[in-house]
Subunit: 447 residues, 4 copies
């Protein structure tokens, strides 16, 4: 690793980038970034330019020396990089909205990382991510890939299985949970250890170790009494099934609502889609407003409006992860990494999201105590869905896709699944070259 | 075991009993039944009398010597029994219809053994079955319990876990599959070995060994070409997802349609409920007609109308099972028995449905080769649902019930599940004493 | 499979062959053998001629029509064969004696299939067996290979892993146990089911099902009272540790003495080696006497002296296995076959010795109930030794050899193991081409 | 936990105690010990007095305020303790010498924690340890038990399984390895993470993470080139089998020599026993000399002669563990704790020795990547030996003892094992009340 670091951001034009800049500035004393490369595609040219200018203003105001570069030439950016942050969105927000609308049309929950939407997102994102990794193998083979492109767990699994790149998947869900817990137990950052385990967007808090005792039950009681600062703002604030959580003795992340109270979420989503718009549509409008703010030449800090965006803490976590690796800090962070026995009952080579000690050699997962049987079954089921989806995304294997989707608890099966799947592929064909065979005349003989 | 056997039928007034009588008469040379006790409850008094008279006419016509006894006194019947056949229906057909209607009301598949209906049925049936077993432990501790009361897998698991009775669960699904396969490959009974494995109403054909080759692919092709005599008449004849089955290399039993093509089944059920009535309602009408036929004093054989009833071959399989045990025949039959490692990845003490060599000491399961990962995950998930349901049914544990139901792929979760569960218990309270605590004032403190 | 069968015997000049002939004649009504090919090598030419002439006299006396052919041309024999029986001994009895003497020299038990001797035997035998299988893949790809060449378990595993040949490993140990048990419980052949499981020469009787009860404890009591007809005559008749067996609830095969009472066996072997000679030396003398008897032109039956030879019932079991396959008899036999989940805790693709239903498609193993933990650990350990030995035998991998031998409980470790291993390879170099690299100048760079 | 700590040392008269005192003084700034209780038994009265006086001189010289108390009344000492260090030796050094001599007499390796000696030691030590824990449950239920009494793994497992006390087992083996590695890679304490895993006295180094790379291969090369500072001085410095270690990719702890090169160790032990005496005898003489030194009223520090004693770093590690717990330091230490999935393939409730993050709530084990199959088999085997030994030690179950010992690779089986076991129990009867039934008239009926 160099003394002065080169950090590359794929999808540099994202509205989240100002948080990343802020995080880098905040840690400049321990993370000496020399060059920050913002990479984007032709369609994102204007946005990335706005971001870069804001970044430069922020850096200047802070009075440090980081060289911000903007490019559409990914290879140029990747050369000799130390850290590559992947935060692009394949198909942009329109892709996300399409996923939501198609799912809803067929009576299923429409979401960016869960269900049919998560499948579609994986199929769009994984081929591009593998392309990036191939370039990294050539241009910066020792760099770390920090992936926070969704669906982060499946994307990370694809990278770990199909490339030689050192990859860590990151998510803001555990970060938000940790901040919520800190608030509930009145402890500062780093004063307690929250241990989570599961899959991306399907984790449970297993321990909250603070001053020699496990505060899990105390936090649980607060949550069940309606004081729940652990759920991201993009998930509607329904009540948890109280007796279920108490009996489990674990605190599920907010996304578990999609599984524990599917019908309520479904109705809520349908109402939103019929009203203010789907989450993707809301976010699209929000982004537009954000970029208008970013353009302001007087703005030289992360605007507070960004916090309503939903992905808060993401980028800050990425900066902390870089700093922990660079400085061998041994912070406990919650990352997607190779299982290797961390969660018993899952394959060694799959990706899991687990609390890990972050070292200069990457994450060392903490051991996960055995899950209750019902939770383990759900995790195993979803992991098989994920693994089949990764396979489908890489190989263009429609049967693997269907075998996976049939397992997914929030995907409906039968004729409507066939139709929804067909429509999903057709509408995304530009981003899913692996499935183009389906629309050629010799499709049958090929697959 | 006695030289002259005493066979007891719990639920003797069932419309299926004539098939059982026919099966016994057909095997009289190898299964020397001396006494056949038909046990029923007060409400079934009239029906069991009709059945007994028909049985006596059938026996007389055959010219053999079986003493038919009718009683409402179960203990009297059980004393020194050799075989106890359990085929009662807790809550009668009205219970089944209630299950169907409540499920449909909440937008879920309404079925006797699957989903919320299967849960309700288990909660009604298991307490009574355990009562019977306690009596057996006292009055006929060495007798075999052949259970074909639904849900057969969960009922058998409850007996194996909570009593000392030797129990075997039986189902007509594999019997129908075996007969269908015999027809497709042109082989006589016993000329081939069909090996199935899974859980009750969730099995797959793994091998079809005939004349030194495995005919599975040949049978699969016939089925996928629309020639499918393997599915019971009570499951609507939808097409299987072709690519899925081919890729799996296993033939699922008809009930897998509830999981692989849920939405089509749901729509079909809804249409039936809005039209000719639910399956339970259709059966109720059919039963009425059957008993009118049974009453005919000139009838001295199983009437052909019984075959449309849906449960065909059930009773014949029970007779074959008795004959195989009694004569140590080592026939390969497909039964619910203790797992004990037969299916890798499931607990040792749970019940599974597997092809077994039937000996005088009971079933010796054939080893089951490892399942494809996705199928294993589904089986594991459903087994955890079943085990939690058994626990809920025995302990009256509502949280166990919910933890189980949340896993079930054809049960919807959220507020509607709470409501549906509440209504299910309330409507069945006469048959679910274990849940009465929910409706007493101190419910909270008790559970 | 042909109507008139072609049976090939590799190692046709073995002294056991007359039992095989007797077995074939005994089953001629159900196993219509047209041609019996006795294959041997140049060194065995004289012996195989003697055997062939005896076989012809036996056949003639029986008055049936089997054409006996003798050849040194294995390919000629294999062409269109239906069954190939492998009973050769790589390196002949001198190889066996060498194994025994080298082991004893280094203070270890010297035995044909256990410990260092078993390892050496595997390394001599597996390369030849794989060569035979390659020829079979070309000349008779649908033939069954019945392997009773020792070490039968490892040889079978090598065939199952490295070739496409349908192979079944056979051993007389369970056959002798079954006959001993028949005698103790007073039951005829086929009247009871003995279920065994484990690895070749490391099996335990798990069940003895007779007339509806498990007679295991009854048989155990007889054995512990000194009435033990279950042990082959080549294993010295020591007492079992009584409390151990009772506590286990399983009856170990005689070879477990090598593990449960190693020191006594060691002392006995040492005494024999210093006195009448090792087992191999005794057998060599015995064989000489047998062939003198076989030469007698008046002899037209299996001479009773053969029974003292040690391998009794081997060949008869092979004939029964052929008859069971040919006629789809569904007999329960005890064979070495692919594990595939039969014994939980072992890899799917390894070979295990388990009671199986023999069909025209080969063996269907009975499910094996979980072993007690300590026994499972021993089985797992030994299977890893076996698998590493197979790898070493195929690849010539000396480190795999050592990693395996270090695990073996009756192999001593340290400098003496290095020396013993070196001597073993050096003395057997003609039969272990895979290890020749060790004695060339560039050995280090090659491996 | 109190602000001013009460530390209790069971076996306070041990010659190691000065190192403990030194460790406490060294950490006084972060570990504010108010009272140090040295507990011993009548026979150790004189020794503990010598130690206490030395301790007081050391404390005085350092100028801090720790109150040293000596007592034979354990209950008095335990009351309200914060940390209890267990370092007693049941049966004193004479017990250890007896173990060594009995083992050697029967041709087996004689060692304090391995083989038959380890079994005997466990049977003497576990009953006393459980007695201590029962008192702790009453008198200081929240105290931590730091066990470094050997055999530390089995003793810790017994405490975890049979009591409610928070216990951590400690050993100096990984400490010595870590110091050796630090020296080889030129890194200071805490600058790298060595991850070990296995069982007490049977661990392997899995990772050596330093400055972003794994230095394991570098350290391995040094060791194989004869530069091996990782092995405790009480294990003779034989060469490792080079190819074995390279192939494994893990560095075994010195005690693995007992398994990988048994015969060499055996011969060495025999030579020592015939010469200067067994290790126990050497240590006994050494202890005598040490106490002569300790008596010197001018001595006010840990004398350098203690370092030759063999157990160096033990007590210092114990102090560091106390400091890490008390201050929630999150140091990575190597401790015996409940497995709970840390090592896949071992029961959840057994004790394993694994690198863990030490928090105020105790150790959080790092996840252990899957072991190579052969190593896993050895670990599983030894764990079953240990678990059966714990069972035997607690229940006085001789069959469990034998089932365990038969598995142990360095225990010989057969008549000599029976004799050795009998002699072991008889000679230790004062310390093995659980086995007294063997020598009463109704022994048979009792067990």
């Amino acid at each position: 690793m160099n003394n002065k670091l080169k950090v590359v951001v794929i999808g540099g034009g994202s509205s989240y980038t100002p948080e990343l800049i802020e995080g880098l500035l905040h840690r400049y004393h321990e993370l000496p970034v020399a060059e920050l490369w913002l990479v984007d595609i032709e369609d994102g040219k204007e946005k990335v330019k706005i971001i870069a200018e804001l970044a430069q203003r922020m850096i200047k105001r802070k009075g440090v020396n980081i060289d911000v570069k903007v490019t559409l030439d990914r290879r140029l950016a990747l050369e000799n990089a130390d850290f590559v942050c992947s935060q692009f969105r394949a198909g942009c927000l329109d892709g996300r909205i399409r996923d939501e609308r198609i799912s809803l049309k067929y009576g299923m929950i429409g979401q960016e990382t869960n269900g049919l939407g998560g499948f579609a997102n994986a199929c769009r994102t994984i081929p591009i991510t593998l392309e990036i990794c191939k370039e990294m193998e050539e241009l910066c083979p020792d760099a770390w890939l920090l992936n926070f492109t969704n669906p982060s767990g499946m994307v990370t699994e694809a990278v770990l299985k199909y490339t030689n790149i050192k990859a860590i998947g990151l998510c803001n869900v555990p970060v938000i949970m940790e901040k919520g817990i800190a608030q509930l137990i009145g402890a500062g950052e780093g004063e307690f250890i929250m241990q989570v385990a599961g899959l991306n967007h399907m984790i449970w808090v297993r321990k909250i170790l603070h001053q020699g005792t496990d505060k899990l039950n105390m936090v649980m009681d607060e949550i069940l009494n309606g004081n729940d600062p652990l759920v991201p703002s993009n998930i509607p604030p329904f009540d948890w099934p109280k007796d279920l959580l108490k009996d489990m003795g674990m605190i599920p992340c907010g996304y578990l609502r999609y599984y524990y109270i599917s019908d309520d979420i479904m109705k809520q989503e349908q109402a939103e889609a019929d009203g203010e718009g789907t989450r993707g549509e809301v976010v699209k409008a929000m982004e537009k407003r954000l970029f208008d703010i970013y353009k302001n030449p007087d703005l030289a800090e992360k605007p507070k409006e960004l916090e309503q965006r939903g992905g808060q803490y993401y980028s800050d976590a990425a900066c902390e992860l870089m700093a922990s690796i660079y400085n061998d800090k041994r912070t406990v962070m919650h990352v997607n990494t190779r299982n290797h026995g961390a969660i018993s009952g899952l394959p060694d080579d799959c990706a899991v999201e687990v609390s890990s000690v972050i070292t200069k050699s990457g994450p060392l997962p903490l051991n996960v105590e055995p899950f209750p049987e019902d939770t383990l079954r759900l995790i195993q089921l979803m992991k098989t869905f994920e693994t089949l989806t990764v396979e489908a995304a890489v190989e263009g294997d429609l049967v693997a896709a269907k075998r996976g989707l049939i397992l997914n608890p929030i995907v409906n099966t039968g004729t409507i699944l066939d139709e929804a799947l067909q429509e999903t592929v057709q509408e995304n064909l530009d981003y899913m070259p692996q499935f183009r065979w389906m629309f050629t005349s010799d499709s049958v003989s090929n697959h």
